[in-house]
Symmetry: C2
Subunit: 240 residues, 2 copies
């Protein structure tokens, strides 16, 4: 359970939306009603509702109430900072992770720039292939600063690195920047993936930061063209 009142209310309302107790198009109870239901203050309810709104689950309309959106209903992966294991569980497709490389390296010029490290620092390099429905679709190349991740094993990489980082090492993963673009496939891509006839791959560069804004991971995720899909939810900022 959450220690936070507003987060536990967020979770409760979210699960009611996902279970269909609150259906798309429906109004959810008013803030006043929720205050009584959860025996809390209006500001606490509003924090929970604003989180739901930011994440695309509800739309708040002044004077009327909050209605459930269907935007988030069928679509994954939707924008967010989520591990492959969490994603695979949501999607429910049979998938497997194959650890192809796991070694400690010194960064080259490119990596020094991406991870903001010096030539002397030790870096974990992990290369994994994600097999989805029997096809080798995604090539993930992860780089971790050893300063933050002293130890890694093949077993951890095959299971879920994030679970290990957050639960065992107590790292507080906070935010990420992702860059998407398309690139010609390399020899490495062809070696590790089932590329069919495709000549390009979709590349996702992931820069992951901890709680204190320190960059601790750089990931390059290379997807076969035809299987790539990404969904984003955005709100317009009005400044008038």
């Amino acid at each position: 359970m959450s220690e936070n009142k507003y987060l536990s209310i967020y979770n409760d309302l979210l699960s009611k939306i996902e279970k269909g107790i609150f259906k798309p198009g429906m109004k959810i109870p008013s803030e006043h009603q929720l205050v009584e239901q959860y025996e809390t203050s209006r500001e606490t309810i509003r924090k929970a509702l604003n989180l739901l709104s930011e994440h695309g689950y509800i739309q708040k309309i002044k004077g009327k109430g909050s209605i459930v959106l269907d935007v988030r209903k069928f679509d994954f992966p939707i924008s967010g900072l989520i591990s492959f294991k969490e994603l695979a569980q949501k999607l429910g497709k049979p998938s497997r992770t194959i650890v192809e490389q796991l070694e400690m390296i010194k960064p080259d010029e490119v990596l020094k720039k991406h991870l903001h490290v010096t030539a002397r620092e030790d870096i974990w390099k992990v290369v994994r292939v994600r097999e989805i429905e029997g096809e080798r679709i995604i090539l993930d190349k992860d780089f971790f600063n050893k300063k933050f991740v002293p130890f890694l094993s093949k077993d951890i990489c095959a299971r879920s690195i994030y679970e290990y980082l957050e639960k065992e090492l107590q790292l507080k993963i906070s935010f990420a920047k992702k860059e998407f673009f398309v690139e010609e496939c390399t020899e490495e891509d062809r070696m590790y993936l089932h590329l069919k006839q495709y000549t390009h791959v979709v590349v996702v560069r992931n820069y992951v930061y901890l709680d204190d804004a320190s960059l601790f991971q750089y990931t390059e995720s290379r997807h076969r063209l035809d299987k790539f899909r990404f969904v984003d939810f955005a709100r317009r900022i009005h400044l008038h």
Copy 2:
């Protein structure tokens, strides 16, 4: 200026970050200091800071303060609901919009699904090419429900439809869902774009909603592979 106190503080702090008065890595003044500077309450300051944090401009660290991130410094287009005109102005590259088609149509089966309309409703269809540095890079196919947009002209489409919708028609554009994937290019793509040797295009499907959660626009944006780039900022949700 904004009528809202917290939005005008958000804007003021944002412009200080963008102008470099607050530089990446620097601490911004504490909430208490900002309360005195802006002569307001702490909750109002916190609303402004939380917005900056959500949008990737600062990181708040409990017990320490808020530091400016460099994540947003060089990267556009970053996730958000922004018109091509606004984007072009930010990027500063020479660009031009060519209106190739502008007509009123009845929706076919596919469009009926995308725009949630019946066969009897009138739909504006706008086809535009975005020329960047002299090359025809992006093909935008927009569809507007006539119920929301009674009138359109070539002139409006060449300038900025969004400016017209928001300023003239007073439509309140609120949020959007975007889907990204890669597709084989069509005859239409080849006809309108400078595609070089590329066999695929990046497709962005855009569903745009108004204030009251009604779907009013569907856009299909088709990008030449090599010029496509998208940046996303995401925060991890911790539920423990």
